[in-house]
Structure formats: C-alpha cells, structure tokens
C-alpha cells in the first residue's frame, strides 16, 4: 500500500505460510482483505458468524469489539482463540486458522448420494 504509511506488524498464517502487514488499528482480517490475500475465511466481518476463527500462537492482539460466544467460548478466548475480524495486532502475530466454511448446502449432495 503505497500511500498507507501507518506502522505495521507482520501477520503470519501458519497453514498457508503467507505473511501480510497489519496496522495496529485494523483487524487482522481487514488487513488481509486490504492486500487481497485469502488465507483466513471471510464471513460477516462483524464478529457474528465465526468463520474467521483463529488461534493466536505467537504475539499479542487487542479486542476491537465483541465476538460471538456461539463460536468462541470464554475458555477458548483465554486460550488464545478469537475471531480475526475483531482483533488488532499489538505485536507481530503468528496464527492458525481454526474456523472453516461448513459444508455448503449446494455442493456434495450428488457425490454423497452416489457414495
């Protein structure tokens, strides 16, 4: 981002091996979207749907807003799980993607039925 001079820290996605820069005042997911990467699944981007659930394995983040307890329990949050759309990095971050798209309604019926 040529014109974005905000200081940034690297965010590393373990599964895909990719790293993208993230400012301290934007969410991990917003930063990924801004540079057009796809390592973390993108859903509502508002803390409700849970598809961008990640485990912060290294580094520190701060909350940008509430996350749905239907997808991240208080115990999980204490253990480093969160939603990538609702946290900003304080330091460099290494994360594992744990959320995923659930089985879509439109795919796999034929293959399931033929199996």
């Amino acid at each position: 981002m040529l014109f974005d001079t905000r200081p940034k820290v690297p965010v590393h996605v373990v599964q895909t091996g990719e790293t993208f820069p993230c400012a301290h005042d934007e969410s991990l997911l917003q930063a990924m979207l801004r540079v057009g990467r796809k390592g973390i699944p993108v859903g509502c981007v508002n803390g409700g749907c849970g598809v961008c659930k990640v485990h912060i394995v290294e580094g520190a983040c701060q909350s940008l807003g509430p996350i749905s307890r239907a997808h991240v329990s208080a115990e999980e949050e204490a253990a480093g799980f969160t939603l990538a759309c609702r946290v900003a990095p304080v330091t460099a971050v290494r994360l594992e993607v744990t959320g995923k798209f659930e089985k879509p309604f439109c795919k796999g019926f034929a293959s399931t039925a033929n199996a």
Partner: protein, 314 residues
C-alpha cells in the same frame, strides 16, 4: 384468513448502540420503544404497527423468533388446533408478554426455529398517514426501507443421516399454517430432495424461505424497497456508512428479486429487496431449480455461487 404476513423478527445483537445506529441509519428504521430488559423495538416508515424488529442484547448473533400476524384473534385458536393436530406442541403467551402486543401462539418449526403468531399489535400509523398521504415522508434516513418483507431460515440437512429439515418445515407450514409453495430447489441423484423452498401467504413470491445447511440458523432478514434504483441508493448508503456488503446489487433468478446483501454490526445478514417478482398465487405452478442451475437461481447474472453467501450465517 389465518396468517396475513410477517409481523416481526427478534434478533440477538452483541453491541446495542452499534445495532441501533445500523438499523436507524442504514435501513432507515425508527426506534419506537425500549422495554425494561433493554430490548429495543423499531419499525419502518411505511409500517403501521408499532414494531417489526426487536433487538435483544446478547453475547452472540442470530434469531430469537420470527412472528407472523393473523387476521382475527380466533385464528389463533384455529391454528393452535391445526398445529397441535400436526403433532407440534404449542404454548399461548399472555397478552403483554411482548409490549404492545396481544397473546402469542408459540411453537417450534421442525427445524427448531421458534415461530410466534399474534392477532393484535398496537397501531401507530405510517409516517405519511392515511388522509391524503404523500407517497413518501421527508424524514427518510438511509435506504428508507418500506417494511420487513421476509426471512430466510437455515435448516439442518444431512442426506447420509436422512435428515432434511427443509422438507419437514415446508410440509409443516403448508399443512398446518396454509402457506403455499412458490419455488423450490431439488437436488440429489433422483432430483427429489428439497434443499431450499420459498413459500407465501401474501401475493409476493416469499414470506418465508428455508435453505439447507449443516446447522440451523438465520440466513437473513429482508426489507422491501420500491425499485432497482433504490437498491443502488442503499448500496451507496452502505458505502457511506462503511457497512459490510456481502453481495453487491444483483438479481436473483429465484423470485426474480433485485437485491443487495449486507451484515449488521453483529454479523446478522440483512437484505434490501426490490421488485414484485411476480404475482404469487395458489394456482400458479411451482418453479423448480435443479442442482446444475442453482448458481443462476441464486445470482442470475453471474450464475456463480458465492461461498460466503451460502456458508456464512448466524
């Protein structure tokens, strides 16, 4: 006549101030009431009953219940008999359980979603009134939605386990609540599994829709707009307010609706929806979409599935 139309939805929000700002400034609704539990009630300018949306404070997003309005109080007794005869338990909630609302017939759809029926809600009038009204009021904010139009509920489907709550819900609302089927998606090797259905009580293509997913949930609540240009304007409003757009303005093959999808600040999906589509009637033949044409059914122009559209919900 039984059920007339969708009356309200009650949804969970994680940040009430942000939610209220969204439904007021993006949809253009007005707050009409707040109860002692902190639940907030809103209506659209063209609605005449006291509210069509209840926001309840929660630690998660999603649906509490959806309510439909019946014509007469005695319809509640008739429908209670039909629902019970179908084998679904009901509860009658006393008048005042919801403020400004008469008694409610409460039951669960086969999918597990809570539905309520009521005959009375306090009349407050539309913004333009009934005597020599202007076509629209001057105080419209945001998209200026006319009314809550329909909701789409995600229902569990697991063909291997023989679970299809879409088909179960569809049968239930037709037989017990007298909805009629307008469109359906049929999948599977024999093309006979209902994976999605659209049903009506009014003359619009859907007053409720059911779509299959891995778990039950709320896919979206939809608000009516007049025209394609209003859809463009609502997208402009979303850009101005930094609202997360899910699907930019397009047309559905199914229902022919002109549409834009977006998320409220808790991740509940909203739709603003325009166009009559067609005149839904009980004797109009049911439209069927097969698995190979599903992409066009959902997004008619591209014909391509958008993963987040079918796989993300609250």
């Amino acid at each position: 006549m039984g059920i007339m139309r969708i009356g309200h939805v009650s949804i969970k929000v994680m940040d009430m101030a942000a939610a209220l700002k969204h439904y007021e400034n993006v949809l253009g609704m007005t707050k009409t009431m707040e109860d002692k539990h902190g639940n907030v009630y809103l209506k659209c300018w063209d609605e005449w009953d006291k509210y069509s949306l209840i926001l309840t404070p929660s630690d998660q997003a999603g649906l509490n219940h959806v309510a439909y309005k019946v014509e007469k109080d005695s319809d509640l007794d008739d429908l209670q008999k039909k629902v019970e005869a179908y084998g679904v338990a009901t509860t009658v909630l006393d008048e005042g359980t919801l403020p400004s609302t008469g008694r409610l017939l409460q039951f669960k759809l086969p999918s597990g979603h809570e539905m309520r029926l009521y005959a009375m809600k306090e009349y407050v009038g539309t913004e333009v009134g009934t005597n020599n009204p202007d076509p629209w009021p001057d105080n419209i904010k945001g998209a200026g939605a006319h009314w809550l139009d329909h909701c789409l509920l995600m229902c569990e489907m697991n063909p291997e386990a023989g679970v299809n709550k879409v088909a179960e819900n569809t049968k239930f609302v037709i037989e017990a609540l007298d909805f009629f089927l307008t469109e359906q998606v049929l999948v599977g090797p024999n093309g006979d599994m209902q994976a999605a259905t659209w049903l009506a009580r009014t003359t619009t293509p859907h007053d409720i829709a059911f779509v299959a997913g891995p778990r039950m949930g709320l896919h979206h609540i939809a608000f009516f707009l007049d025209s394609w240009h209003d859809i463009l304007k609502s997208a402009d409003v979303m850009a101005k307010t930094k609202t997360r757009i899910d699907v930019a303005p397009t047309r559905h093959g199914i229902t022919r609706g002109e549409t834009i999808y977006f998320f409220d600040p808790s991740g509940n999906r909203n739709e603003t929806f325009a166009g009559l589509g067609y005149l839904a009637q009980r004797d109009r033949p049911v439209t069927t979409w097969d698995e190979s044409h599903l992409g066009s059914g959902i997004f008619y122009h591209t014909g391509e599935m958008v993963p987040s559209f079918t796989e993300v919900y609250t």
